[in-house]
């Protein structure tokens, strides 16, 4: 099968044609040798092995999806589509609905993105365009260091530093000045959606910032010099560089979003863990990853475990959808701006 396709390849035919026309007798040995090398056993093995690896990854994803579907059959049958539209989560009465968790995951992640995106793009611009190297190196190092902090450490920092600060400073300020918005109403607990969004923002900032910095750096130097040469200011030059690296920054953002959606420990520690949908950012919420981490170990009944696995399945689907959207965005962005 493979031999045929290679021979039929027009390019290789053309090449052999040329060689043959020069002197088939003399070079026939060479061509034979090349032929033999082409179907070298090592190459063949290597190729098939890498194909196998690629297939294994694909199979793993499919297997995970299947296992989660299989593990949540009971709750699929019992609740059907009601599972994603119901807000009740009652392990005692065995009545499960995942809507508050989906809401919590999506809102906390978007909030994190809203805070982290301008910050990290700013950091990236500073590091790649403005900072002298004696500033740039240590700051870059610190940003990357942030990415390496374990999430439980972020969580503890959240409980002992961030949450009291939010309760005493941020929330009173917001309700005094922006209290007319439904977003900033309610009792200032400190623990809640706002704390979750902020801690996630800190966690995804280094990812978005360091990738964006690399993307900005990869814009050719000539581009900047050309802009400066025709009289553009620093800001105008930066805008040109930014426009060239839009798709890369978008990709970085999506990576950050992916991390925010899947983050478990730090969020659990500050979000207040209350399965309710409230438009106020001051109120406690709950995320999908958190409820699984919180309740799986002590879930004893079949239906309970099934419901939790179904939550995992939904999280899996949402993650895939987000990634696909990201691909689509990056793809359409590159096309438009080319």
């Amino acid at each position: 099968m493979e031999e045929e396709t290679i021979v039929e390849n027009p390019r290789s035919q053309e090449q052999t044609g040329d060689v043959v026309s020069v002197g088939s007798d003399l070079l026939s040995g060479v061509t034979d040798k090349r032929r033999v090398r082409k179907y070298n056993l090592g190459d063949l093995l290597f190729k098939n092995l890498t194909v196998l690896f690629a297939v294994v990854v694909l199979m793993l994803v499919l297997l995970m999806a299947f296992e989660m579907y299989d593990g949540s059959k009971l709750s699929f049958q019992e609740f059907g589509t009601g599972f994603v539209t119901s807000s009740s989560w009652d392990p005692v009465e065995e009545d499960y609905g995942a809507l508050p968790f989906m809401y919590g995951t999506i809102v906390s992640s978007l909030l994190a993105l809203l805070i982290a995106l301008p910050l990290s793009v700013g950091v990236a611009i500073f590091l790649s365009e403005l900072a002298p190297s004696w500033v740039e190196r240590p700051v870059s190092f610190m940003v990357e260091l942030l990415a390496g902090v374990p999430s439980i450490v972020y969580g503890l920092w959240g409980i002992f530093v961030l949450v009291p600060w939010i309760r005493k400073t941020v929330e009173p300020f917001l309700s005094d000045h922006l209290g007319f918005l439904p977003l900033f109403r309610g009792a200032p607990y400190g623990f809640g959606m706002l704390a979750a969004g902020m801690i996630l923002a800190v966690m995804i900032l280094p990812i978005i910032a360091s990738i964006s910095r690399d993307v900005l750096r990869s814009v050719p130097r000539l581009q900047r010099e050309a802009a400066l040469a025709i009289g553009a200011t620093q800001w105008e030059t930066t805008r040109i560089v930014l426009r060239d690296s839009r798709s890369g920054i978008l990709g970085a953002t999506m990576l950050g979003l992916g991390r925010a959606i899947g983050e478990t420990m730090a969020v659990t520690m500050v979000i207040g863990n209350r399965p309710e949908i409230s438009f106020s950012l001051f109120d406690p919420g709950y995320t999908m990853a958190s409820v699984i981490a919180n309740e799986f170990t002590e879930a004893t009944t079949e239906m309970y475990i099934n419901a939790l696995i179904e939550v995992a399945f939904i999280l899996f689907v949402i993650t895939i959808v987000v990634n696909m959207l990201a691909r689509l965005l990056v793809w359409s962005a590159t096309r438009k701006w080319k």
Binding site: P91, I159, M269, G272, P284, E298
Partner: protein
């Protein structure tokens, strides 16, 4: 040739070891883990019997005992009837609950102007966790705390967000003392809390309470003692306000001993007795009545006998309440029936 002999000698060594040493595998509750690992360590030095215990949570312990993947399980909440039936069907043997020590749940709070020793009645506690008592100067709280400085601060309720035996004991207690709680919320390792914030683990609840003025939550007794948290005195069934201590917890178990059911699956929350602290419960080891491996069965029986006798003395130091004598006697009889 030398490699062969090395392999052979290695093989002989290891097979020799595994022959001489019985290893018992177990999994389950996290709450008694500190005590169990102490027990297993001491017992191994004494007898050479090795235990491998994974504290994966009560739910996991029950699941593994049903599936027969462990020699023993451990749980803070007793197995349900249908789970016992399932085990009998799958494994062909019955499961026994063996109480080992007692745990207690204390109500902790943050009221700097009040200090320690808040006194609460069961009705008030249920009211607070139902979201009906919302201010600290509510007359239901004030009436049991005369002369104490209580302001109109809002009560912020903190509860465990992770499934846990601590929550089970606490909600079991509330279900017993409040009809409304029983019908509206019920008992379980996780429940639908009518109000409040959820925090992960004892340390999460304690952290939340420590930082939030006007908050109230519940944690394990050991955790509260170790971290010097203020805790409330609870009014027990006999009408006395009781400070949670290891003694008052053991007293609760002694109060429950006289009508102990055959299988030890009993809740001792709201127990009888003048000096009983009302929010406490057993933690159990789950063992098969008849073990497939005879030597393992024997090892388990010997270990359990030791745990009832010498083992209990390790409990207090690690802040677990030891079983009262009355219960130890009952357990010792029951252990004899394990094969």
């Amino acid at each position: 040739m030398p490699t062969k002999s090395i392999v052979l000698s290695l093989f002989l060594t290891f097979s020799g070891l595994s022959y001489a040493q019985t290893q018992l595998n177990g999994a389950g509750a996290t709450f008694p883990y500190v005590l169990y690992s102490k027990w297993f360590d001491v017992y191994k030095q004494k007898t050479g019997v090795q235990f491998n215990y994974q504290s994966i949570g009560s739910g996991g312990g029950i699941k593994q005992i049903i599936e027969g993947t462990v020699d023993f399980g451990a749980t803070d909440g007793p197995m349900k009837d249908e789970q016992l039936a399932e085990t009998s069907k799958k494994q062909g043997v019955d499961v026994l609950h063996i109480p080992t020590v007692l745990g207690a749940v204390v109500v902790t709070y943050n009221l700097p102007q009040l200090g320690a020793g808040l006194k609460l009645t069961p009705e008030t506690l249920a009211g607070i966790f139902l979201g009906e008592v919302t201010k600290w100067n509510d007359r239901r709280i004030a009436s049991t705390n005369p002369g104490k400085n209580l302001s109109d601060q809002t009560i912020i309720v903190a509860h465990r967000s992770d499934g846990s035996g601590t929550s089970f004991i606490f909600t079991d207690y509330l279900s017993k003392v409040s009809k409304q709680w029983e019908t509206k919320v019920g008992r379980g390792t996780s429940v639908r809390w009518p109000t409040g914030l959820g925090a992960k683990g004892n340390e999460g609840v304690a952290g939340l309470v420590k930082q939030t003025e006007g908050s109230i939550g519940y944690v394990e007794l050991a955790y509260a003692v170790k971290n010097h948290l203020p805790y409330a005195w609870m009014k027990n069934k006999a009408g006395e306000f009781i400070e949670p201590t290891l003694e008052s917890v053991s007293a609760a178990a002694a109060g429950a001993a006289k009508d102990m059911p055959e299988d030890f699956r009993v809740s001792i929350t709201n127990a009888d007795g003048k000096s009983s602290y009302p929010i406490s419960g057993f933690t159990w080891l789950l063992v098969y009545k008849k073990n497939r491996d005879k030597s393992k069965g024997e090892a388990l029986v010997n270990f359990l006998k030791w745990a009832m006798a010498d083992g209990q003395s390790y409990a207090s130091d690690l802040l677990y309440a030891p079983l009262p004598k009355e219960v130890i006697k009952l357990v010792e009889v029951r252990v004899q029936s394990i094969k």
